[in-house]
Symmetry: C3
Subunit: 393 residues, 3 copies
């Protein structure tokens, strides 16, 4: 076992207008190849997963002990057509995709114990390489965690089937002394090991969810929705009709039914997953391109902040949109879609249904909902069928 | 006809770390399918377009009556090769793509009466689904409008051939009480119904234009240009030579001739349309990544604002670029292009021609313009021919 | 030779809600075609390159004379497989890709003399059009330069094989009078002529590098790394194993070995090159989305600034990421990757190796490095082989 040591005799280490040679040092290539063989052997034997107890701290600096703890279950859900679906849940029975929306306050430390209840055979089916270990993990954006909670294969911080592991997240506050920029923001969490070293198959199966870290004084929404924009023109892994399952008689808010009363503050945690670029567009509403989606009149610089109603996002990006439902524009079925035309035409489109202050939709256009959603009217019958098939039941 | 009512008995409605089940409620699927049949029947009969007079307000809150009104015409223009071209114009004779650049002041309410003069047969040719209604609409970004002015099929706010409809746009000012973030910004307007429910065919035929909403005190440009970055490596739907038609003897500013005197404040309304990602890059000039493209020294936070000369934009995005032409760098033929290399190589490149203070181009490189534009020199003869064909005449 | 003159008799020149006709003026098309023929003749004869001595100023306004001067060499490097590689270097012997990282202070004027030592035959092989001139250039983002230093064919500011040319860059400070927004920021420089008029082949061969312009008072990093995200899932034109060549015994910082001690301030100049969209993601660390990557508590507006750990970038974009290595999270092998899943799976992934304060890596996971990088474990053997082949030696 070798010790890492930083050698400072390389002038390239100095910032500034210097030249950096990229010619490999003698022996460098050989060393890498040898190490790779060792790794694959260890990984193939499954010996690494249990090993993550080295000298790396369990908790990030600033978190003396967790303020709160949660149990989280990774389970297999009914297939969506032929597509394997996995979900995170606070109980195995309530697992879903997206998983439960997490909320933290800056300064808080949270311990989450992940129980991997996904059958080993299912994980094996999703594996792209027989040497890749079987497991599920919890990788998070934005908050602080040590290598023990990285949720990656290379840090051995994942959970083999049937086992459990506790991940510690610290919503570090701002600290000018250490240079910490704070962690308040709109983030997300996801698996990083199912199928391959980046969790690509875990993500596309449903192992992701939203996280919001608030700072004291932040505006508090009345409703929070997660909208993950992903591959195959999907929102929350659903397309076409399946993106809007609101029943007119009885709309129940949830990942496929976005509904609010006029005047309510609605928050979207917008996340990019998968491989494709998208844009998040909402009709009739706009938001400030700030940390919170809001900026207050009179606040310094407020006047220079862009207010937008369409924002590009790539995979891994996450941001918050806060709007006052129906402000100025009134109730209605307000479209929410990707503005890439072939994405919206293919069904990457849903609605924010804004009811009046009494929780009613004015009758004028009621007959047009929800089937009037462009996702429905615009898709061919083949697509509509496919959309329906995507919804597991 | 059913009344929408928000039922709050679902714990998932509460924000926070909750689980949201995505399992459809019993009957939900059946209800959607029935409603879809009703809709398509109505739409197929063309009966919906005239119906948009329900209980939704005509004007957004804050607009008691319009401060100003405009007539806008949607017309068919000469084909660009085999491509159907449509345009908006303040008169039928001056219709163009992009359409007329709109300018509003925050607080202003504008009524625009759209006259659909596009022949029904043309709209039928662009239709992707025979059940989709024929019509043209006006959908706008950023400003406020009710469902009556949404410009969508599902809100029945479009214009059948030969008919007219008045759209009301309200440039709502900032209002801390209601949470309004203000509407000052760089926006755009476009059709949302030609061809399909997202207006994809209307957009690609030319039915779009720029909108700028100013706040009192905003810097006022000497010139405003719209540059819509779109599919097939196009700027304002043109490629290669057709992106720069400035005549050396007599450059007339317009959508295909970007010209300014040194020291003039030039504003670009940059819009993403279609399906592709692009980046807007301008040689020799840079701008602040703020609402206005400008930031003033001494302004709080000014020091932390990124100044950029290249910005990624996806479809639906719009932003403003303000530069002082030739500041520090002097006159010249300054390239403006998408920095995706195969886009610029294929002709997604034009010039901002900066003349000296007397309106003259220094002679040194005069012989190189305009054919010296990389869009010309870099394209094969086949592409150049195609570029020429794209320009209708 | 014709003089450019701006004619203001076109009402379209006025900003506001006007209509702009895009119909070509009589004769406009013919004029363009004639000019194109003249240009291609001149370019074909190679007569234009030496001609760049017209009436355009040599230096931008504000730079009376250069404060500093550099010699820069463009040379051919050993092939990467079958791929031609070129590099910039402060000496011919130290040329590399990325080229040397340049650093300027706002207010500084820098003269860079570029010596083109790339053989004409190599440039001819990279040329996409036999009429395109042979040469190498230096085009820069963000700072100010006249047409004489634009580095383009159309401005005749490139360097034929065996010749030299001096480019002048001025890091103009903020100036409210002229409207200058300042030039402090994270930028890059690159060839704009190899292969075609946008330098596409020069860029993809390696002719690019990072530039940072600092403003007095900006935070000063302990280390600066350039990470150029490009085509074929590459970081600094390397994929898979080749993105991380750190030797455990003796990690030497450089473009393929990102290493720092806990507590050091590390700066990344992140650049998008080529054709593809990417996202820059770093595990365990986050940064403020500001000009410097930093925002100070108590600074006006600081509370509204997004802190992010993933950022989308398109070709031509560049931004700065500043993090305090290991802050709160401790030492470890922190993944740095594109979050587009198929990009990271294909090897667009490396590590920031954070050692402890003594320059040691805690032993717990030491055996996992560097081959444990997901780029290694996740690629098939075919890809791994290809990755190795990409590394010239």
């Amino acid at each position: 076992m070798t010790a890492w040591r930083l050698v400072e005799d390389d002038p390239a280490a100095e910032p500034g207008p210097v030249t950096r040679s990229d010619r490999p040092r003698p022996g460098g290539r050989r060393m890498l190849v040898v190490a790779a063989v060792v790794l694959l052997t260890l990984v193939g034997a499954g010996g690494l997963a249990a090993a993550g107890t080295g000298m790396f701290a369990e908790r990030p600096d600033g978190c003396v002990k967790p303020d709160r703890s949660l149990q989280l279950y990774a389970v297999e859900l009914p297939k969506d057509g032929t597509q394997i679906r996995l979900g995170y849940g606070l109980t195995p029975q309530t697992a879903s995709y997206p998983g439960p929306t997490m909320e933290m306050m800056e300064g808080e430390c949270l311990a989450i114990t992940l129980h991997n209840q996904v059958p080993a055979e299912t994980l094996a089916q999703l594996r792209t390489n027989p040497a890749h270990p079987l497991g599920v993990s919890l990788h998070v954006h934005g908050v602080k965690y040590t290598q023990q909670s990285d949720g990656t294969v290379q840090s051995a911080s994942y959970v083999p089937p049937g086992e459990s592991r506790t991940y510690t997240w610290y919503a570090a506050p701002r600290n000018n002394r250490t240079g910490s920029q704070g962690t308040a923001g709109y983030w997300w969490y996801h698996d990083h090991v199912v199928g391959g070293p980046h969790g690509t198959q875990g993500l596309s199966a449903g192992l992701f969810g939203g996280l919001v870290v608030r700072r004291p004084g932040d505006p508090k929404p009345d409703r929070t929705y997660v909208t993950a924009f992903g591959d195959r023109q999907s929102i929350n892994l659903r397309r076409g009709e399946a993106t809007d399952t609101c029943a007119a008689e009885n709309p129940q808010p949830g990942p496929t039914c976005l509904v609010a009363r006029k005047g309510e503050r609605v928050e979207f945690i917008v996340v990019g997953i998968g491989n494709d670029m998208h844009t998040f567009h909402l009709h009739g509403h706009s938001w400030a391109d700030t940390r919170t989606g809001v900026v207050s009149n009179g606040q310094p610089f407020a006047d220079s902040v862009p207010v937008i109603d369409n924002k590009t996002l790539g995979p891994g990006d996450s941001f918050g949109v806060q709007v006052v439902a129906g402000d100025a524009v009134g109730p209605g079925h307000w479209m929410l879609h990707c503005h890439m035309q072939f994405h919206s035409d293919a069904g990457m489109s849903t609605m924010l249904h804004v009811l009046d202050e009494n929780g009613q939709m004015p009758p004028g256009m009621d007959h047009q909902h929800p089937a009037a959603a462009p996702a429905t009217a615009g898709t061919t019958s083949a697509t509509a069928t496919e959309g329906a098939a995507h919804q597991h039941n």
